[in-house]
Symmetry: C2
Subunit: 278 residues, 2 copies
């Protein structure tokens, strides 16, 4: 049996952060401190945790974060005004609107209001279109993380058959687009897909982005396939039945410690890119 590669997200994230440190130092000597603005609307505890984690990750690297917490009664109009003022604030290099916002807010409209140069979380349709057409600066962070893990571990997508399970605007769709641009043949599956197992069984690369714990089964995995699990469900469980899938895979991301930490490092990287004017 050949050796399995555990795709360690912490190793990749640390490599990304190490490279960022010198870039941040260089910016500071020019009087620029990269700054990520985070907007949290309402009191959702997981959202609050995510925003706090992102703020902490910024702080550790010397990136400023500007935390904006709006109460749950905030209107769409008020949220748009907040975003506009951040768009115009030259000290802010990236804007992250934490999903989900309260139901009465037009989230899509809010996302679309984020200036393309500050859309470091990759949520605008313009950013998505530019990414899909091959010249986007800041893809959504989880898809960017998946590609970064592959790059770090020397996994070439060209000519491979990638099967993406999930089609959300910030995960399944953009990761399909990025893999296609890396010359993979890409199949995008979702809740309406028939014979899902048969599709996954053909994959050289499986991306699980479905949001269901342990959903991808071991006997769906072609021997030697690479598995990237972007799921993160209650109880620290991914979308992939890890032990069962590990048996067939040549390489796999664990949960936790796989895609998650790299996702945050991509957010930091995009913020530094933006501060550098890239």
């Amino acid at each position: 049996m050949s050796e399995k590669v555990i795709l360690d997200g912490n190793v990749v994230a640390n490599a990304v952060k190490e490279e960022l440190k010198s870039r941040i130092d260089a910016l500071k000597t020019k009087g620029i401190t990269p700054c990520l603005a985070t907007i949290l609307v309402g009191e959702d505890p997981s959202s609050a945790t995510y925003v706090r984690m992102k703020g902490n990750a910024c702080a550790k690297l010397g990136i400023d974060s500007k935390k904006i917490h709006l109460d749950k009664e905030t209107t769409t109009e008020q949220l748009l005004e907040t975003i506009q003022s951040l768009n115009e604030d030259s000290n802010v290099h990236g804007i992250l609107l934490q999903h989900p916002v309260p139901d009465h807010i037009d989230e899509r409209k809010a996302f679309e209001t984020i200036a393309i140069d500050k859309d470091v979380d990759g949520v605008t349709s313009l950013g998505y279109g530019q990414t899909a057409l091959g010249f986007g600066k800041y893809p959504s962070c989880t898809p960017a993380a998946i590609l970064k893990i592959m790059e770090h571990y020397g996994i070439d997508a060209s000519g491979k058959h990638a099967v993406v399970v999930g089609r959300s605007p910030i995960l399944g769709k953009p990761v399909s687009a990025l893999l296609l641009n890396e010359d993979a043949t890409v199949t995008t599956c979702h809740s309406r897909t028939k014979n899902l197992a048969e599709h996954v069984k053909q994959a050289d690369i499986v991306v699980a982005a479905v949001g269901k714990p342990n959903f991808i089964q071991g006997d769906w995995i072609k021997p030697g396939a690479v598995i990237l699990d972007a799921g993160y469900n209650k109880g620290n469980v991914g979308d992939v039945d890890y032990e069962a899938c590990l048996a067939n895979a040549s390489a796999i991301t664990p949960v936790p410690g796989g895609v998650g930490p790299v996702t945050i490092s991509m957010l930091l990287k995009h913020t530094v890119d933006s501060a550098e004017g890239k």
Copy 2:
């Protein structure tokens, strides 16, 4: 053997145009004449022919066309100025920049300059992103035509496996996105795809968008598959080996008289949509 359906593009295009006529009449009673601006740069004879065909199609329905012919020495800057002035011209409802432009021009920059509300040909990355995320107004016309043909003939994509051969920004990518939004499981293949025949053999719906005459072979077609041929090569030949593929298919577009005429009708429809402020 069950009956074959020849997906007749002229029938679909005529149905679209018939519906447009009353809408154009209604606009004219309000003093609005839909107007498509076409920009041709240089002297490429096929491009000149395409622009003339589009102008004629407009004229037949009572849509104005504003034909702008720039000489082949035009700079990117001059082209952008022309597009900007059309963006600002309230009498112009749609802008079509005929591809290709001379090599020295930054075509992507020119496309991106077209205002989203006038991007009736679906060439901007913003329009692409909006289409892929499910709220685009004007998808590229050939992908829109493929979906219109399916709608006209009652071919439901939901749960079907669609295999798209080609990944160009105005054809393979957006038609993949539209089929995904129609709940198909979508595989996008291209020049780097290995075992292309094996992928196509699994398709319930085959979209050929590759630009190679008679490229898709008869024995690649699963019995009962639906074939949409977006190819148009020298000698009036599609990307599909028509007679051989017809033997296995349940439905197929001919070339000529398939996707082509519907593509032009989609351009007209988008122009009328825009004039209506949709």
